[in-house]
């Protein structure tokens, strides 16, 4: 096996291996030091709890609620982000006039607004979707704004020299060169949408994985809390994986996808 192949395969072997090592050390040290499971439960206990939770249909209802909130918020945030990003990117005058406002909104810690949304939209899904969407919106919008402007000058000249219409220029050039920026924004956005949803669930309502975190915390059930956190992490990872896989299909030509493996 050559070095390049090895570099590709290696993480797939080492990552599970390292996790196993971590769990074994964790298990042994918790047992050896006799740590209270209330503070740090051993992995075996956590997985036991995870199994129990996964056997309950209410757990799956909570997973479903959280996933729906994340997906709806993410999609809404991305759509709005692309739309606003394109408009602002295309209209520098508008962008200049709203720029201070955008920066101000960007700097505001948006999770601080969650209680307000709870007052306005209640304890249901709407609040969480709005928070997830709001958090997902900014990275996409800012990336797209940059993307719209970063079309290469020479490429524009070319389109002009072959008599391309505005629509053709958009379809074959602007849209295509914008896509890597949309995906860069989406990769940040999905992570933020997950965070927004969960924090939203922490603060209001009685469904979703975030709610389960709060519930297990109130019960001081550390093993179950760990189990829920594991589920959350898995949901987040799967979401991220879906976005990056989508990127591989959508822009296989881009450097972030093909890497630098065949640059000659």
């Amino acid at each position: 096996m050559n070095r390049k192949k090895l570099l590709k395969v290696l993480p797939w072997i080492t990552t599970p291996g390292l996790l196993v090592v971590l769990f074994v050390i964790w298990e042994l040290s918790v047992k050896a030091l006799d740590v209270s499971p209330l503070i740090l439960p051993p992995p075996t206990m956590i997985f036991e709890n995870l199994g129990e939770l996964l056997a309950q249909p209410t757990t799956w209802d909570n997973v479903r609620v959280t996933v729906i909130e994340i997906v709806l918020g993410f999609v809404a945030g991305v759509l709005a982000g692309v739309l606003v990003g394109v408009v602002l990117g295309k209209l520098p005058l508008v962008e200049a006039s709203v720029r201070p406002l955008i920066i101000a909104l960007e700097v505001v810690p948006k999770v601080a607004l969650i209680p307000l949304f709870v007052i306005w939209f209640g304890f249901g899904m709407t609040t969480k979707v709005i928070i997830a969407g709001l958090l997902a919106f900014f990275p996409v919008m800012l990336n797209v704004l940059l993307g719209v402007r970063s079309v290469e000058r020479g490429h524009r000249d070319l389109m002009q020299s072959i008599n391309a219409s505005r629509w053709q220029t958009f379809r074959h050039l602007e849209y295509k060169s914008m896509m890597p920026h949309v995906f860069a924004g989406m990769e940040t956005a999905i992570v933020l949408a997950v965070i927004g949803t969960i924090v939203g669930e922490y603060l209001g309502g009685n469904e979703g994985l975030g709610y389960m975190v709060v519930k297990t915390l109130n019960e001081l059930n550390a093993p179950a809390l760990f189990a829920v956190i594991l589920m959350l992490a898995t949901v987040g990872l799967i979401m991220y994986f879906i976005v990056t896989s989508f990127k591989r299909v959508a822009i296989p030509w881009h450097e972030s996808v093909y890497g630098r493996k065949d640059v000659g």
Binding site: E152, G154, H155, D157, L158, Q160, S161, I162, N163, A164, S165, Q168, H172, L173, K176, S177, M179, I251, W253, H254, Y258, D262, V263, G264
Partner: protein
């Protein structure tokens, strides 16, 4: 200075001055207004180019050769004068005549290939925008790829090709719509010396095969003389034609031209002429 076309050794079939040149540039000027005043990029450019002629534009940087080419390519409007291609005006005030643009092919210093399309789609782009059917497009792309020697690379992506190959693709793309006039802006400027020499041979073969008229911008004297039927020497501030040199050597010209006394004489004269500018400046 008279721009009347002269019969040359290279083109015995055009024994008499062409009454209707392929391209007529008359009284062309371009000024840019900046905060610090007005810059005269080009001033009173007059140039007639006959069909199938290969004209090199040479001059130091800032002499306006690229501006002239960009005006002829329909990318920048002139502030004075006219460009006529095949008897039709290219510019109407600030707007280009798209039916005239269609008769041009442009090759830039950078290949400007779209990384999201493979070589086939890059070459076919102008045809696609014009609404040429897929089958027809495919046939034409095969033809063009064969012409530039890239028939085995059609499914590849631009990043997989060397600089010289990418420039061949750009040339094929510029030729896809059968242009009567090929405008080239330092197309080989970014290539290494050996690749460049090879591309010089290639472009001669391609120009003759397609019977295209070529305007070729370069800052390399050897290249300008080796390729051109005429070499137009531009001087900066304002950009003007200083001299038009006929190259009485038959085309295509092989590498052996570099040993030709006439070639060296012309290169030497141009060299002196370009250096005189330097003296005026200092």
């Amino acid at each position: 200075m008279s721009m009347q076309t002269q019969p040359t050794v290279a083109m015995p079939e055009t024994a008499a001055p062409d009454p209707s040149p392929e391209i007529r540039v008359s009284g062309l000027g371009k000024t840019y207004k900046t905060e610090r005043g007005t810059t005269h990029a080009l001033s009173d450019i007059n140039l007639d180019i006959r069909k199938e002629e290969f004209v090199s534009l040479i001059g130091r940087s800032g002499c306006g050769k690229t501006t002239l080419l960009r005006i002829m390519a329909g990318l920048v409007p002139p502030t004075a004068g006219h460009v006529e291609i095949g008897g039709r005006a290219l510019w109407h005030q600030e707007t280009v005549d798209s039916s005239v643009i269609r008769r041009l092919g442009v090759v830039f210093q950078d290949s400007n290939l779209f990384p999201w399309y493979n070589i086939e789609d890059n070459i076919a782009l102008p045809l696609r925008l014009r609404g040429v059917k897929k089958n027809e497009r495919r046939d034409r792309v095969r033809e063009l790829a064969a012409l530039v020697g890239l028939e085995n690379f059609l499914p590849n992506y631009p990043r997989e090709l060397s600089g010289g190959m990418r420039q061949r693709v750009a040339i094929a793309r510029a030729l896809s719509d059968n242009p009567e006039l090929l405008l080239m802006d330092e197309p080989f400027g970014a290539l290494d010396a050996l690749t460049r020499e090879k591309m010089n041979m290639e472009i001669q073969r391609i120009a003759l095969a397609t019977r295209a008229t070529v305007v070729f911008v370069t800052h390399d004297i050897d290249e300008a003389v080796a390729l051109g039927d005429r070499v137009v020497h531009l001087t900066p501030r304002p950009g003007r034609i200083k001299d038009v040199v006929e190259v009485p050597l038959a085309r295509p010209r092989g590498l052996e031209i570099k040993k030709d006394a006439a070639f060296h004489g012309l290169v030497g004269n141009l060299h002196t002429s370009l250096n005189e500018e330097d003296d005026h400046e200092s």
